[in-house]
Structures are given as structure tokens and as C-alpha cells.
């Protein structure tokens, strides 16, 4: 015989499932009959009435609510694509596509408007390429060190440090690029360019200049401007290094030990094992991390806006100011551009180009992982 208090407890918590099998219900019915036999008070009878119903209703409400929340992410994608397409179509009604693709200048805010997207794209490509040239060797070698050479304690200290680096806001990296790295690089450039006095009999050397009364060796080294793609790209590379390192490390670390042992048994050294066996086995993860890093570099905003400048220059000179696609969107947003005007629509056309570039990279990364993933038991 269950005490009344215990049954009260069960009832109070509504802990009777709507899914409870019929046999349980019958048992409960029996209990109820016994109870009512013992306690003649008819008040207790209602304690047994359907609390599953309220529990079931609550579950349905929660289920629908969670489903609604999950749909918000679809609505976000739809919103992004819808927004970009709508404004981009409006843009192309005023500016023909061929002009967008073939103009060699980007001057939507001037009186003589030109809309050469490749001007902005070349800057984005330039900074991203420099960034990748920094991030891939640094990130990949760090990943190899952490996974293959570092002791467990070292790995446990260094990985969180890299995560700290990954968590630094990009505006901080922008500060670092503009106010620390650029002056530092300028000093190096100036030092290399400084004319070196040489004795007169060395005047057959190239790059020799004659300033009264001595000969000087003057290297034709470029002048680094205050805003430039070089330091923006370098710092951008540092900022995405943790992404490459962390994701590649996961891929390298999960290569089974048996593969390494097999290579050692064939007489390979540690480096040969890593380069010939471990890296190829982890290749899909490594390439995916690099593609994600490229996508991040292309979409990065604050570093390039602060350090690379606001001058739309076509070309790939890393020593002069350039304007990336993201920097242009920031420039227009900071000015007071009226909604519906042509300059306002340009940021959506540029945003659409950016979105398509990153989407292509992301899809390629998914495809690559799916196609080349090695599965080990």
C-alpha cells in the first residue's frame, strides 16, 4: 500500500508520462480503488485525474517553441540572401554589370562615378594572400609542434595561449597593425634604404650614386607608406594563425598512432613519418582549416580598414594604401549616406560579392572534407 503522501508527491510533480504503457495505467487505477476503499473521503479521487494532459501540453508547447527558435537560423540565411539580392538588383538597374566588372577605378562617391569591383577585390586578394603566406606556415608548423613534438604539459599550456590569441578582437589587431607594426616596418625599410658610403673604386657596383664628395650604395628599396597592405596582411595573418593551428592540430592529433608506428618500423625518421604519413592522413582537415582561414581573411574588416587605408588602388603593390571590400562598406557606413541612394546600394553589391566569395570557399571546404576524409577505426 502506498502512503497517500507519496502518491500526492507523484501527482504534484506531474511525473506521470503520457507515454506510460496502458498496463501502468491499470495498476494506477487499482491503486486508486484501493486508496478510495481505505480513505472514504471522495476529495482524494481528483488527485488521480489526468496530469499527463498538462505535462503533454507543456511538452508540445516547448517542442513547438524550440522548433520556432531553430527556424530563426533559416530566417537569418533567408534574410541575408534576400537583403543582398534585393539591393543588388536595384544597384544593377542603375549600373550595368559589365561596367561593374570592367571599370578600372572605384569612385562611387565622386562626381565622375566608376564602379570597378576588381579595384576592391585586388586589395582584398592582396591582403588575404599576404595573410595566408603568414598563417599557413606558422599555423601548420605550430600544429605539428603541438601535436607531435610538445610534451603533454606543454601542449596543455600552449593550446589555451593560442586560443587567447584567437579571442583577441580584430580592432585590437587593427591598432597593433597601424600603430606598432607599420612604424616598425618603416624603420626597417628606411634602414635598408639608407645610402652606404663606399670607396670610389667600387663605383662599378649596381645601384651606386655619386653625391659630393662620396660614392654611395643606395638599394632601390620601396618606401612604405603609413597605410599599406603589407602590415595589414601580416597582422591579419597572425590573427588567423590560431584558427589554422587549432583546427590542423585537431586533424593531426587524431591520426591513429598505428600509422606512425608503421612508418617507424619501415625505418623512417620522425620528420619523414610526419611529412610522408601523418600530414597526408590529416590532409582533409588541414586543407579545410586553411580554406576557412582564407574565408575569414577575406571577410575580416577592422584590421584592413584601420591599417590598409581608404584609397581604392587597382594593382598588387603591398607598400601603398589600398581599399578592401570590407573597408569600403565601413567607409560608406560611417559617412551619412541616405538610404536608397546609389552609394547606399553599392555597399550591398560589394557585400553580395563578398558573400559569394566566402560562400564558395565554405562550400568548397565542406566538399573537400567529405571527398577526401580518411576514416580510421
Amino acid at each position: 500500500m502506498l502512503p497517500a503522501a507519496a502518491i500526492e508527491d507523484i501527482r504534484g510533480k506531474g511525473f506521470i508520462s503520457c507515454r506510460s504503457p496502458p498496463i501502468l495505467n491499470r495498476k494506477l487505477l487499482l491503486l486508486q480503488l484501493l486508496m478510495s476503499a481505505e480513505t472514504p473521503s471522495s476529495k482524494n479521487v481528483h488527485l488521480w485525474q489526468a496530469n499527463y494532459e498538462s505535462a503533454k501540453t507543456l511538452e508540445t508547447i516547448i517542442r513547438v517553441l524550440c522548433g520556432f527558435f531553430a527556424v530563426i537560423s533559416i530566417a537569418t540565411t533567408a534574410g541575408i540572401i534576400g537583403t543582398l539580392i534585393f539591393e543588388t538588383i536595384e544597384f544593377f538597374q542603375e549600373v550595368p554589370l559589365w561596367q561593374f566588372l570592367t571599370d578600372t577605378r572605384w569612385t562611387p562617391l565622386f562626381a565622375s562615378k566608376q564602379f570597378g569591383i576588381f579595384v576592391l577585390m585586388s586589395a582584398t586578394l592582396l591582403t588575404s594572400t599576404i595573410a595566408i603566406l603568414v598563417a599557413v606556415p606558422l599555423g601548420l608548423l605550430s600544429a605539428i609542434f603541438l601535436s607531435e613534438y610538445a610534451s603533454t604539459t606543454m601542449r596543455k599550456t600552449l593550446k589555451p595561449l593560442l586560443e587567447v590569441l584567437a579571442g583577441i578582437p580584430s580592432v585590437v589587431f587593427g591598432y597593433f597593425a597601424l600603430l606598432t607594426v607599420t612604424p616598425f616596418l618603416q624603420e626597417i625599410f628606411d634602414f635598408v634604404r639608407t645610402p652606404i658610403p663606399i670607396p670610389a673604386w667600387l663605383d662599378f657596383l649596381p645601384f651606386t650614386q655619386y653625391y659630393e664628395p662620396d660614392f654611395f650604395l643606395e638599394l632601390p628599396f620601396p618606401y612604405l607608406e603609413g597605410f599599406n597592405a603589407l602590415s595589414a596582411g601580416l597582422v591579419l595573418g597572425i590573427s588567423i594563425t590560431p584558427l589554422v593551428a587549432s583546427l590542423s592540430e585537431d586533424a593531426i592529433y587524431s591520426v591513429p598512432q598505428g600509422l606512425r608506428d608503421g612508418a617507424y618500423a619501415l625505418g623512417a625518421t620522425k620528420r619523414e613519418t610526419i611529412l610522408a604519413v601523418v600530414i597526408p592522413a590529416a590532409l582533409s582537415g588541414i586543407v579545410a582549416s586553411i580554406i576557412l582561414a582564407i574565408s575569414r581573411a577575406v571577410g575580416e574588416t577592422m584590421i584592413v580598414t584601420l591599417a590598409a587605408g581608404q584609397n581604392p588602388n587597382l594593382g598588387f603593390n603591398p607598400f601603398v594604401p589600398v581599399m578592401t571590400m570590407t573597408a569600403y562598406i565601413v567607409q560608406v557606413s560611417l559617412g551619412d549616406t541616405a538610404v536608397g541612394t546609389l552609394p547606399y546600394k553599392t555597399i550591398f553589391a560589394v557585400g553580395m560579392t563578398l558573400f559569394l566569395m566566402t560562400l564558395t570557399l565554405n562550400i568548397f571546404s565542406f566538399w573537400f572534407v567529405r571527398r577526401f576524409r580518411e576514416r580510421y577505426e
Binding site: S73, I80, Y149, L161, G167, Y175, E272, R296, F355
Partner: protein, 308 residues
């Protein structure tokens, strides 16, 4: 010539010939090994050294102007009077609203994908969608916020307001929270769920009384890390038109605002050295806030791991 007829002398000469062809050159290979190992160490050191350089540089430039009046003053054209009060208030407001919005929505979506829906096309579609959203550059979310919350819903959100900023950042960090929630839920052993069902609970009762409490530290860690991403975001807020000069405190969610990263951006982009130092002070404040949030997340994670 049959196999048996090979004489010892022939076998010997074969071996010598093979050895002459195959030179293990162990010394050279080990030298390359050492160079390779040195390169990996150098790469790691460079990454850490740049981090140290950045911190050192920010500290040197920023610590001088970091005092009580910096924290309690409004921005000003005179560097010696400028402070971050309105930026701090704006960041506080925005982060509070982002937490309020993103926590239920993110955890709810994670629950839906992991606990409620089976492996059907709808769940798979949402899943692909979320991993795509995670790769969209943050400035694109700014364009979405500009159209959706500033222009279309401007009457309700107050245009370029705290609410608009919070909604935009919520959409930005939702994928991170959803992924973290799902991982935390996946780490809950199935036996715990089955024990709940065996007691006669329905699926929501099992989630509420068993699964969620077990997964909660993991979920909270993910939410805090996502919020610390949101706190440093600058580009989307510039795009939706957060102002750079706010000499007053916002009084409600519909007021215009600025946040700490935008204030830092504004100071960095000015030519005067004094403002650069102010930017460094602002960065110190921002990094301290981030450090506190991250340490809390790491603390939660370690406690969670010890408990299991």
C-alpha cells in the same frame, strides 16, 4: 640457374651491391629532422611572441592614461578629458540584451536539433544552414541588421538603437551557441535519459530535470565564449550605424549608443598620438573584460570535467 645453386660468394656480392645502392644516410636525415623540429618550435614561438609583443605594446602606451576619470568621463575632443563611460554603458546594455535574446534562442535550437527532432530532412537542412551561417563574415550580418532592423522594423526597434545592435549581434553568435549546446547535449550519457524515461517522465521532463542540468556547464561555457566574441565585434555595429560620439548615457534600449570597440576604432583612426594612447587604455579595459569572461568559461569547463 636454380635457387639452390647460388653460392655463398654470389649472395655476398649481391648484398654488397645492394648496400652500395642503398645508403641510409642516417646522419643527414637526422640533421634535416633537427632543422624541421627547430622550424616547428620557431613557428610556435613566433605566434606566442607576437601575442606578447601586442600585449606589451598596449600596456606601455595605455597604462598612463588609465585612471578613474578615464572610466567615468564621456568622450571628448580634448584627449586629457576623454573617457569611455558611454562606451562602457553601451557595451553593458548591448551585452545584456544579447545574452537575454541569444541564450533561450540558441539553447532552444540546440535542444530541438539534438533532443526533439530525429534525423529527418528538416533537421539536416537546419544543420547545413547553421554551419553555413558560421562562415558568413560579420560585416554581412551588419548589412542584414541595417535592412531588417534599422529600415524595415525601424518603428519598433528605434532605428540605430541598442536594440538593433543587440538583435544583430544575437544573429551573429547564434550559430556558435547552437553548436556548443549540441556538443554539450551530446556529451550527456544516454543512460541518464533512459533512467528518466524509466521513471515515466516524458521527453521534456527528462530534458528539464536530467539532460539540461547535466549539460548546463558545457552550454554556459559555449554561451560565455560566444558573448566574448560579440563583445569585441566592431564591423556589424558600424554598419548598422552605431555612433562614434555619444556624450550621454543611454536610458533605454531604443536609444542611440556606442560600444567599446567602436570607441577604440574612433580613437585609433585619429591622427593625434594622445588619442592613440587613449585607444590603448580602452583596449586594456576591453581585454580585461574578455579575460574575466574567458577565465570564467575555463573555470566552468574544468569544474565540469572534474565532476565527471
Amino acid at each position: 640457374m636454380t635457387f639452390e645453386s647460388i653460392t655463398d660468394a654470389q649472395a655476398e656480392s649481391n648484398l654488397v651491391a645492394a648496400e652500395a645502392k642503398f645508403q641510409p644516410n642516417l646522419a643527414g636525415r637526422y640533421r634535416l629532422d633537427a632543422i624541421f623540429k627547430a622550424a616547428t618550435i620557431a613557428a610556435t614561438t613566433i605566434a606566442i611572441a607576437v601575442l606578447a609583443w601586442l600585449m606589451f605594446d598596449v600596456l606601455i602606451s595605455g597604462v598612463g592614461s588609465l585612471d578613474r576619470s578615464f572610466l567615468t568621463s564621456f568622450p571628448s575632443r580634448r584627449p586629457e578629458q576623454a573617457g569611455i563611460l558611454s562606451a562602457l554603458a553601451g557595451t553593458g546594455w548591448v551585452m545584456f540584451l544579447v545574452a537575454v535574446f541569444s541564450f533561450p534562442i540558441g539553447v532552444g535550437s540546440g535542444l530541438f536539433l539534438e533532443e526533439f527532432s530525429g534525423d529527418n530532412w528538416f533537421a539536416r537542412f537546419i544543420e547545413i544552414n547553421i554551419s553555413n551561417l558560421a562562415g558568413v563574415p560579420s560585416i554581412i550580418y551588419g548589412l542584414l541588421g541595417l535592412t531588417a532592423f534599422v529600415i524595415i522594423l525601424g518603428d519598433w526597434t528605434g532605428g540605430r538603437s541598442i536594440l538593433t545592435g543587440a538583435l544583430t549581434l544575437t544573429l551573429l553568435i547564434l550559430p556558435i551557441i547552437i553548436v556548443a549546446t549540441r556538443e554539450a547535449l551530446r556529451a550527456v550519457p544516454d543512460s541518464i535519459r533512459q533512467a528518466g524515461y524509466a521513471l515515466g517522465a516524458n521527453s521534456w521532463q527528462v530534458i528539464w530535470s536530467h539532460t539540461l542540468p547535466t549539460a548546463f556547464p558545457g552550454i554556459l561555457t559555449g554561451v560565455i565564449l560566444a558573448l566574448s566574441r560579440a563583445i569585441g565585434e566592431t564591423a556589424p555595429l558600424i554598419t548598422i550605424g552605431a555612433l562614434t560620439f555619444i556624450p550621454f548615457l543611454p536610458e533605454g534600449p531604443l536609444d542611440p549608443f556606442t560600444v567599446l570597440p567602436i570607441q577604440i576604432y574612433n580613437w585609433v583612426s585619429r591622427p593625434q598620438k594622445d588619442f592613440h594612447d587613449l585607444a590603448a587604455s580602452g583596449i586594456i579595459v576591453l581585454l580585461v573584460v574578455l579575460l574575466v569572461m574567458n577565465s570564467f568559461a575555463i573555470f566552468l569547463r574544468s569544474r565540469f570535467q572534474k565532476a565527471r
